[in-house]
Symmetry: C2
């Protein structure tokens, strides 16, 4: 976090467990069961939920498999979905990052901020 960023950054939610994703962010339980937490549909619902909770114009969400465990054939380590709610718009992006857990996390943060920059430049 950069000093002074409270001028533009309201806050966030760390929705680690599925009950928090559902109860607090409003992600439908059916989506979590059919698509899994690491999916385009769930990050879109998470972004909408945090946009509502924080009362902000733009909200980001992230769900991925940073490793070393948790990967599967269809959802390998490094798979990361980034969701964005921008006004009424709802977007999601699928990424496949390399490297270890820390590398996946750092790439996710940088790329997510890049998506915000891209979206704001189109306004």
């Amino acid at each position: 976090m950069v000093a002074g960023s409270s001028a533009v950054f309201a806050g966030g939610v760390i929705a680690y467990s599925n009950p928090v994703k559902h109860d607090l962010l409003g992600v439908p339980t059916a989506l979590l069961q059919t698509q899994g937490a690491v999916s385009a549909e769930v990050v879109e619902a998470m972004a909408r939920g945090v946009q509502r909770l924080m009362k902000v114009h733009c909200a980001l969400s992230v769900s991925g498999i940073a490793g070393p465990g948790g990967g599967s054939e269809h959802k390998p380590v490094g798979l990361v979905y980034i969701g964005m709610a921008l006004g009424d718009e709802l977007l999601s992006f699928e990424h496949h990052f390399g490297g270890d857990r820390q590398a996946v996390r750092e790439q996710t943060a940088l790329v997510a901020m890049g998506h915000v920059r891209d979206a704001l430049q189109k306004i």
Copy 2:
């Protein structure tokens, strides 16, 4: 975050702005105005709020002045309050940490986890 920690960690809230502290965590606006966000009373209210939101037994909160800006005579850089809601109990701790922004943040995280460990050992 340690891999597999979702088994014991539900989530968290980054309550960067005062409206989020009030609207989402339920911190009374009067407390924010009279005591300031960096105060024992506010971290206690934040801990209670996040305990309620996350539906957990134990919740931690942190508010401090990590620097380099934001310090004052009464609330210097390095002043950090840590709040804890543990069941019905509500605790807060005042700390004065040295070093730069990153050092203050790292000490805060370590000491906060220490408070949890101490509290759990008393159960």
